[in-house]
Amino acid sequence: MARQYEMIMRHSRNSSGTAEPPRTDTRYKRIAAAMQKHQCRPDALIEILHKVQDAFGYLPMEAVRFVAREMRVPPSRVYGVATFYHFFSLKPKGKHNCVICTGTACHVRGAQAIVNEIQQQLGLRPGQTTADGKLGVQIARCIGCCGLAPAVVLDDQVLAKVKPGEMVETLRARVGGAR
């Protein structure tokens, strides 16, 4: 808790005060345009956060502040929403991302073994990213590909009937053998 707190604090200090986000950044332009489309109605908050995550791959605090300010939604509400939904991440994800489905079908067909193998071989627990940011590992509740269990989504590609050992090899290959 405390550690997380500190990290977020650092974010806020970096972006506090009057420092405007770089308006020239096309990503901000896209977000601003999306807000315009919804006339900055507060109910579009989740839609806009989706746009931010699309643009950055995660929700940078700067962008979250920007959204709150532009949409005139109280900061704590924006933060509350951003942290309520698991799809949103306040931390940058990896360059490559491996999402292990842990839905029921995948669970009974051995998803946990994949999680364990990755943790043992690559030292990555779900939610973690390698220090160099190359690989992030996440778990999903169910990606609706139960027929393919156990399934893993690697960089938006669904891998079916995954075997733990092979998965690790695939990941190693994807990040260039880096551990």
């Binding site: 900061p75 704590s76 509350g80 942290t83």
Partner: protein, 236 residues
């Protein structure tokens, strides 16, 4: 004035106005229902589930604070099952965070502590979770101690609905939920907080307390909010 109907409350026949909640009716009739999240003057969230009652003919339980009375309802508020469930809920509260009454500033001035006595909780059967919780003392006048927070959200609501600042909200979800100020920043650096102190007054436990207070002289007046809201309505 709404229609008057008759209901049975714990076996007693009562004439009540339609549209009122069971909790209202109970309070008027002197039936003592425990509540934690409910506070007069604030919106009703039905979150603590302490005020659940039985209504004859339904297998479900109903929170008295949100359920309106209906004609010919037979309501039971003190069955053995309800008492058992209430005690269990209080146990869950105590097991969830780190409540140490002995050293809490709200000792002897705590709604949760009182509740434990009222429901006869002599110990907590569930394993204590001992979560890691922080204390935020960055505000000049008050302290937020997550160890003692029961997530009743009275502070969140009073800040939004009565003060209009919406400094507080809840982040995360499930048992990882935490009350936050602004972007989960130290309360003292909040740009929205007006330091009105209402959140501290409504907090039922020692989670929010004035810095100047010590165990033994903490006095909270959550009832003031109801009065304030009522006065505002009169003036409006």
């Amino acid at each position: 004035m709404n229609e008057i109907v008759s209901i049975q409350l714990d076996g007693n026949e009562l004439k009540v106005e339609l549209g009122r909640t069971i909790l209202d009716v109970c309070r008027e009739a002197g039936v003592d229902l425990p509540v934690m999240c409910y506070l007069e003057g604030l919106s009703v969230v039905g979150a603590c589930r302490l005020c659940v009652v039985e209504i004859e003919g339904s297998p479900r339980l109903f929170p008295a604070c949100t359920t309106p009375v209906a004609a010919n309802q037979a309501i039971r508020t003190q069955t053995e099952k309800l008492k058992r469930y209430r005690r269990m809920i209080v146990e869950l509260f105590f097991a969830e965070r780190n409540h140490v009454c002995a050293v809490c500033v709200a000792n002897n001035a705590c709604e949760l502590q009182d509740l434990a006595r009222r429901v006869g909780m002599d110990h907590v059967r569930f394993p204590y979770l001992f979560p890691e919780c922080g204390v935020d003392a960055s505000h000049p006048h008050a302290v937020l101690d997550h160890n003692r927070c029961i997530l009743c959200t009275r502070c969140v609501r009073v800040c939004d609905e009565v003060e209009g600042a919406h400094t507080w909200d809840v982040m995360g979800r499930g048992h990882a939920s935490r009350v936050i100020a602004d972007f989960n920043e130290p309360w003292g650096s909040s740009t929205t907080c007006t330091s009105c102190g209402k959140c501290v007054q409504v907090c039922p436990t020692g989670a929010l307390w004035p810095k100047a207070a010590s165990m033994g002289n903490l006095r909270k007046e959550p009832g003031k909010i109801g009065e304030l809201v009522a006065k505002r309505k009169l003036n409006a």
